[in-house]
């Protein structure tokens, strides 16, 4: 079917090539001048109270430690310079409740589909991977609160830099195929995901997230058992997680165990009391603004980041420099990444590298020859196929969600 072509990778990318690609980037990313410094034991994120340790967890290389229990681990920006897919051991980690799964027996694991359906399902992993057609999609997984630390005025929450995101090739089955087998009853409207994570206190609301049935059936929403052609790390939701391309990661429930079909909107706390954004363009409002309609967060907007040069780097005057980075379109494909070296007055189109599908990171490149000594502000701006571009002014909302302002880095031309 034609429409699926632009985002499925299918057999085009053989497993071996793919694994090689994941490791290859390291050398390509080694830019002699202006390179992002090597990882040390600590890192200072550029906002108040932004000192962080780097800490290795099981199946993870040292990542930026935000919280030990349950783990909040951020991917250092340097990783994004090393390739278009984020290696599993560098992929950020985000749980909510304290009691997270640490042991999974693949023989006894079950996924249930129940509620407003004619034929409830309880399947083990073996049947799940063999009874339904395999499906693959490259998609960015980004925390709703990615970049929260940059909000001004600041807001409480997980104080992430820009690394609460990652791009992976997800392999699994379409949710549509599973739901079709369960055969929703007339009047079915929502599909609610639950995973194995739990609170430790009796009154802590369990973490549940819902999508509208039509969305769940769109043939892109899937249940993944593979991440970059490997099993998911435990901390990213082994053995199964929901994948909701184009939508913020809060819906991508990890260690997925229950899928409940509802005949009414979901009023559980994590849908009605948390992850709410203003119902406005760019989810933007003014601090203290009253009477703003709040709705559950949904789709992502476009973003782009220069990854081979860090803030404060020195570039040689009259010497041609390659500027490169990653970008994504959000809920639709990327059309352009524009580059500005004069603080946003004039823009040039960058060259986009290979397209892995409309929900994937895509690398961009541009040659830049500084001609004037002194300070310069470099910016990149992603534009998606809906014509949505990153805003020049940052958005603000009380929970610190969906930041996607045009990023800028300051360099010295010497």
């Amino acid at each position: 079917m034609a429409p699926t072509r632009d985002y499925t990778i299918g057999n085009a990318l053989a497993r071996r090539d793919f694994l090689r690609m994941l490791t290859m980037g390291v050398a390509a990313g080694a830019v002699a001048r202006g390179a992002i410094p090597a990882l040390a034991g600590t890192i200072q994120l550029p906002f108040a109270n932004g000192a962080r340790r780097l800490q290795a967890f099981a199946q993870k290389r040292p990542l930026i430690l935000l919280r030990t229990r349950s783990p909040l681990l951020e991917t250092p920006m340097a990783v994004f310079n090393q390739g278009v897919f984020t290696p599993n051991d560098a992929f950020y980690v985000r749980w909510h409740l304290a009691d997270i799964p640490t042991a999974i027996d693949i023989n006894t694991y079950r996924l249930r589909v129940f509620g407003h359906v004619n034929s409830p399902i309880e399947t083990d992993l073996r049947s799940l991977v063999h009874d339904y057609p395999a499906f693959e999609i490259a998609a960015v997984n980004q925390c709703s609160g990615n970049s929260r630390g940059f909000f001004n005025p600041r807001v409480p929450g997980g104080e992430w830099g820009n690394g609460a995101m990652g791009n992976a090739l997800w392999t699994g089955i379409r949710l549509k195929d599973l739901l079709a087998k369960a055969n929703p009853r007339a009047g079915a409207r929502f599909v609610r995901f639950n995973g194995l994570d739990k609170g430790t206190q009796p009154n802590t609301p369990d973490f549940l997230k819902s999508l509208e049935l039509d969305h769940a059936m769109n043939g892109e929403v899937m249940i993944a058992y593979g991440m970059n052609h490997q099993p998911l790390p435990m901390l990213n939701g082994f053995p199964l997680r929901a994948v909701v391309p184009g939508w913020f990661a809060t819906y991508w429930v990890k260690s997925l165990s229950d899928i409940e079909v509802l005949d009414h909107p979901d009023d559980n706390f994590w849908m009605k009391g948390a992850y709410l954004v203003p119902d406005t363009p760019h989810f933007n409002m003014k601090p203290g603004q009253a009477g703003v309609k709040m709705v559950p967060i949904s789709t992502m907007g476009p973003r782009s980041f220069i990854t081979n040069i860090s803030d404060g780097a020195a570039l040689k005057k009259d010497r041609r420099t390659n500027i490169s980075g990653i970008a994504f379109g959000g809920d639709t494909g990327l059309t352009d990444v524009m580059f500005s070296s004069d603080g946003g007055r004039t823009w040039r189109q960058t060259r986009l590298d290979r397209d892995y599908g409309k929900y994937s990171f895509r690398r961009f490149q541009i040659q830049f020859t500084p001609v004037q000594a002194g300070g310069a502000v470099l910016m990149v701006k992603a534009i998606n196929s809906n014509g949505v571009e990153q805003p020049m002014e940052p958005n603000w909302n009380p929970s610190g969600y969906a930041r996607n302002v045009v990023e800028q880095i300051r360099v010295r031309i010497v």
């Binding site: 109270n49 229990r69 349950s70 999974i104 609170g199 802590t204 609301p205 099993p231």
Partner: protein
């Protein structure tokens, strides 16, 4: 003492490997799924200093470690009172209502004066 610790570890490893049969599931695309078991680092009583630290250690580390608190931006006292009330009302923190103000005051200070990173080492 040390030997005993290793014995426990070995016993635990044996128990885990025993109850999880070493079967594999190979997916159509060649991904091999195996049973998994990880262990996570622990954290201690992460608040120190003023006498209120012991209340904070009791009530603010039940559902998350101190990183959730010690990485917060500068918030004013009213914001911290709201946060503590939210923990009670929304998430079920059993802190008595009469302690909200003193815990909020302690946290407002503690969160902006976190222990040095070297002391925040996780085991």
């Amino acid at each position: 003492m040390k030997h005993r610790k290793y014995l426990y570890l070995a016993a635990a490893a044996f128990a885990i490997s025993g109850c999880m049969k070493q079967t594999l599931i190979t997916t159509p695309g060649g991904i091999v799924l195996r049973s998994q078991h990880i262990s996570l680092p622990s954290h201690g009583r992460e608040f120190s200093g003023a006498p209120e630290s012991s209340v904070a250690n009791t009530y603010c580390l039940m559902c998350h470690s101190g990183g959730m608190v010690l990485t917060q931006p500068p918030l004013d006292l009213a914001q911290w009172q709201n946060e503590v009330r939210k923990m009670i009302k929304v998430y079920g923190c059993p802190l008595p209502g009469s302690d909200v103000d003193q815990v909020a005051q302690f946290i407002a200070h503690a969160s902006q004066n976190p222990p040095p990173l070297s002391a925040r080492a996780e085991k």
